[in-house]
C-alpha cells in the first residue's frame, strides 16, 4: 500500500484535470496548460503518481509522419478515487476544448 501524504494544491489541480479527462489520454504540455502548473512541478508529480499506482502511462505513436511519439497519461481506478477524495478547493473552470489525444 503506497504511503500517502498531504497533496499540494498543484497536485490536486493536476488530479482534477486528469479526472476530468476520464478515460481519455492526456499529454504533458496539455496538462501544463490546463492545470496551470509548470512542467518542473508536473513531471515529478506524474512520476510519483505512476510509481504509486495512481497513474498509467503509455507511449502513443504519432498519427502524422515525422512527428515523435508521445507519452500519455490517465488515472487508474485508485487514481480516480484519490482525485475524487482530493478535489481542489475551487471547482475547475470549464475546461477549454480538449485536444483530441493521439492514439
Amino acid at each position: 500500500m503506497p504511503r500517502r501524504r498531504a497533496l499540494s494544491p498543484h497536485a490536486k489541480t493536476v488530479l482534477a484535470v486528469l479526472l476530468d479527462a476520464a478515460d481519455q489520454w492526456s499529454h504533458g504540455y496539455e496538462l501544463v496548460r490546463l492545470a496551470g502548473v509548470k512542467s518542473g512541478t508536473l513531471y515529478p508529480l506524474l512520476i510519483r503518481l505512476e510509481a504509486q499506482g495512481y497513474l498509467e502511462a503509455e507511449w502513443q505513436q504519432p498519427l502524422e509522419g515525422g512527428r515523435p511519439p508521445r507519452h500519455a497519461y490517465r488515472l487508474t481506478a485508485s487514481g480516480v478515487q484519490l482525485a475524487r477524495a482530493n478535489l481542489p478547493a475551487q471547482a475547475l473552470a470549464p475546461a477549454s476544448p480538449r485536444r483530441e489525444a493521439t492514439t
Partner: protein, 377 residues
C-alpha cells in the same frame, strides 16, 4: 535571442536531463524531450524544457549520489550494513578531499584525512574481531574511555576556554569525536551500573570541556535509546547528559571558526559549486547507513536510529556553530570516530545488534541476546 538559439537551448536542456536521469527514469526524459519537440513556439518550448530540468534536478542529484552506491553494492551492502558504512565513510572522505583540494587547503591536510581513514578502518577491522562478548570487557572499555575524556577536559590543550584537544605526534586530536561514538555503541549493548557511571562521567567531561556538539550528541543518542527501550540505566544516563548539555549552553563558546574545519557547509559554496556539493553529498553519505538500514533491516531499526541520531547531531552542530564538519572537513578525529561508530552496526542485516541490551545475568540470556553476542564478535 534568436529562434534557432532558443530551440537549440531547449534541446540542450532535454539532452542534459536525459544524460543525468537514472535508468529507471529514462522514459520520462524521452517523454519531456518529445513533448518539448511538439511545442511549436520556441520560447514556450525552452521554458518547458528548462522547467522540467529544474523540477527533476533534485532527483538527478539524489540519483548521482546514491544510485552508484546502490547499483554497485546495493544487495551486498544491505546484507552487510557495516560494509555499507565503510563505503560511505570512504566516499565522504574522498568528497572531503575534493572540497579541500578545491579550497586550496594545505596538502598536509589531505594526507591527514586520508591517513585517518586508513587508521579508522584498520581499527574497525581489528576491534570488530577483537571485541569480545564479555560484558565486563565492554564496561572496562567504557570506563577507560570516560577516563580519557575527563583527562582531556582537565589536562588537555586550552583554546579560548575550550579544553577538547590533546596533541599526539604534533597533531591535535579531539578524543571525544573518536571515543564517544564507540562508547555509545558499547553502552547500547551493555546496560549496567559501571557502564552507566562511565556515560555519566562522559557527560561531565563534555560539560567541563565544554563541547555543545558532543554533549547534544550524547543527549540525543540516549533520548533515542530511551524511546526505544526504557530502563533505569538509560534514564539515569539521559538525565546526566541533559544536565551536561544544559551546562554547555550556559558556558560561553568563543571559539572562532577554523578554516577547512568549521562552517564549511556554507563556505564551501563560496569556493565553487562543486566543492559545496562535495561537502553536502559527503555529509549526506554519513547518514546513508542509518537510512538504508532503517528501510531495509526492520529487525535492527533501534540500532540505525541511534547511529543516525549521533551523526545527524554532529552535522547539525557543524551547520549551526563553530564545530568540526565531520569527515568531509579537515580533522582525523571525526573520521576515526565515524569508522569506530560502525561497530554499532550489525555485520549482517537481520542479525540483532545495538538497541537491545545484554542480559544482566548471562543465565538470563535470550535467543536475541545470543545473536547480539555473535553480532558484536
Amino acid at each position: 535571442m534568436s529562434t534557432g538559439l532558443r530551440r537549440s537551448l531547449a534541446n540542450l536542456a532535454c539532452r542534459t536531463l536525459q544524460a543525468t536521469l537514472p535508468p529507471s527514469l529514462q522514459s520520462w526524459g524521452w517523454a519531456i524531450r518529445y513533448e518539448t519537440a511538439g511545442i511549436s513556439d520556441d520560447t514556450t518550448a525552452l521554458l518547458f524544457a528548462l522547467n522540467s530540468l529544474c523540477g527533476l534536478f533534485p532527483r538527478v542529484i539524489a540519483a548521482q549520489v546514491f544510485h552508484p552506491v546502490a547499483a554497485l553494492f546495493g544487495g551486498a551492502a544491505m546484507r552487510s550494513p557495516r560494509a555499507l558504512g565503510i563505503l560511505c565513510a570512504t566516499g565522504a572522505v574522498l568528497l572531503g578531499l575534493v572540497y579541500m583540494a578545491a579550497a586550496g587547503a594545505p596538502t598536509r591536510y589531505l594526507w591527514v584525512n586520508a591517513a585517518a581513514l586508513v587508521i579508522g578502518l584498520t581499527m574497525l577491522a581489528v576491534l570488530g574481531r577483537a571485541v569480545t562478548a564479555e560484558r565486563c570487557s565492554a564496561e572496562a572499555a567504557i570506563i577507560a574511555m570516560a577516563g580519557a575524556l575527563l583527562a582531556t577536559a582537565l589536562l588537555g590543550a586550552d583554546v579560548e576556554g575550550a579544553v577538547r584537544w590533546v596533541y599526539i605526534g604534533g597533531l591535535s586530536v579531539q578524543p571525544s569525536l573518536v571515543l564517544l561514538p564507540m562508547m555509545l555503541a558499547l553502552f547500547a549493548r551493555t546496560r549496567s551500573t559501571p557502564a552507566t557511571l562511565g556515560i555519566i562521567a562522559a557527560a561531565l567531561a563534555m560539560a567541563l570541556q565544554p563541547d555543545r556538539s558532543m554533549a547534544a550528541m550524547l543527549a540525543l543518542y540516549l533520548a533515542t535509546l530511551a524511546a526505544i527501550r526504557r530502563d533505569p540505566y538509560v534514564l539515569t544516563a539521559l538525565a546526566a547528559s541533559v544536565i551536561g548539555f544544559a551546562l554547555t549552553l550556559v558556558r560561553a563558546d568563543r571559539l572562532p571558526a577554523v578554516p577547512y574545519v568549521d562552517q564549511i557547509l556554507y563556505s564551501s559554496f563560496d569556493v565553487h559549486a562543486v566543492a559545496g556539493l562535495a561537502v553536502l553529498s559527503g555529509s549526506a553519505l554519513l547518514l546513508v547507513p542509518a537510512i538504508a538500514g532503517w528501510r531495509r533491516d526492520p529487525d535492527n531499526r533501534a540500532t540505525y536510529s541511534a547511529f543516525g541520531a549521533i551523526w545527524l547531531v554532529v552535522i547539525l552542530a557543524a551547520a549551526l556553530g563553530n564545530y568540526p564538519t565531520p569527515v568531509v572537513g579537515y580533522g582525523g578525529s571525526a573520521i576515526i570516530g565515524y569508522a569506530l561508530s560502525l561497530l554499532a552496526l550489525p555485520k549482517r542485516a537481520g542479525a540483532r545488534a545495538g538497541g537491545a541490551a545484554w542480559a544482566r545475568d548471562p543465565a538470563d540470556g535470550t535467543a536475541s541476546d545470543r545473536h547480539l553476542l555473535i553480532a558484536l564478535a
